[in-house]
Symmetry: D2
């Protein structure tokens, strides 16, 4: 498996009138986890799009355990448990600064050839970088 950890500080714009982070904003936090997981591998998602592969989200799930608050520094843990094929699955755990579990969830992405608009194998560079973690 491959694991990566990053952080995000909660913005005022991300709170709602319950005084907590609006649940819909965790999709962007998961996306930050993915982006920084790739960065830890020496890759960027930008690079994939430049090479003609985009990776839209196919499905997405969230469990909200505890609320997060404005200005909290959240820890996002992103894990890949299976080597991506056409689909890539990312699993997430988000904690606050007191190690309290805030949100868990997952995202499944599908690799799509930007010219043909058809599903395709995950970017070669992604597989190369990930393979050592799955031996």
């Amino acid at each position: 498996m491959f694991q990566s950890t990053t952080q995000v500080r909660v913005r005022y714009s991300e709170t709602d009138q319950m005084g907590v982070v609006y649940h819909g904003n965790y999709a962007a936090f998961f996306e930050i986890g993915r982006t920084d997981a790739l960065r830890d591998l020496g890759l960027t998602y930008k690079q994939f799009e430049e090479e003609g592969i985009m990776m839209p989200v196919l499905d997405l799930g969230f469990n909200f355990h505890s609320p997060a608050y404005y200005d909290d520094l959240l820890i996002i843990k992103t894990a890949i448990y299976d080597l991506p094929a056409i689909r890539s699955r990312f699993d997430y755990e988000i904690y606050n600064g007191n190690d309290k579990l805030i949100t868990t969830g997952f995202a499944t992405l599908v690799s799509v050839n930007m010219n043909t608009k058809r599903p395709c194998r995950s970017p070669v560079k992604l597989l190369e970088k990930l393979r050592p973690y799955f031996i």
Copy 2:
């Protein structure tokens, strides 16, 4: 069961550089579905908060079938298949103007007493209005 249908027009701000609605924005579309389902019952979520019950989202799931585009008029179908207890589950189907299935999913909400911060029974008015649909 209880069903309700509403519409939302895609904003430019809701697109991303793939040229489609950013997946994270569907959480707000589901929320519009809930708000308008309550309105169809002669209720408002605002009313629940004024009566001291808030209903945060506990879990949330999305399946993305087809992309939606800027200025599309989306049809949001919201269904309640079980009479709410402490938890209330809403199921969603979103279609575009050509009856193409865009996104399906669900949200589970939990009723919380705003004073005690403890889970509580769903708002009485919600149950009164829904009961006729579950006989």
Copy 3:
């Protein structure tokens, strides 16, 4: 001059922990005003992009007079006081259901040829439709 009126209902996701609409969301409300002003003229912004002209925002100003709240039905009044040239200016007034002034402001857009990435004249169709209002 040309004037157009549209409506938007405040979403829960658009509130912040002050219990009011987050100020940053009014940019999207202005954009809804523009989109629906064009629709009133029998045009769509989508059409302009398909014809190779995009109209990014050049500058933007807001004055916040009164707060708006979750589930408020806001009235957006969009006005064009001068026939667009390379630049197009839109002026806005947003009211709530009690005719209370919520927000005023403006946006200046610049027409850009999507191939050359250079400023260009506003879309011909826009000028054709607007000209009768400026005689």
Copy 4:
């Protein structure tokens, strides 16, 4: 005067179908500039709200000079040129990693007593920390 510099990395969710950061998102970037300017002074906005003063935005202006792109690391420069009274004005410059000017603008905030809902003097702690910069 007082100056502070912070950074923000552009999220995929912040792009639009023009392939650049959606203009409405700069309001949140300005807010990050404010939050981190206060942090540099040893303060948090959170603290002000806990002390019963909230500071809603009164007016807001943006000039968009160049687009920013997904995954860009933006530099936000926040300046206070006048010691706050009831109103506090923040001026902003946002640059990308190549020192290219992206966006400039300002925000005026008004201090409001959360009990009386009436304008009030800026938080005492804010004035104490800022005064040395205005001698």
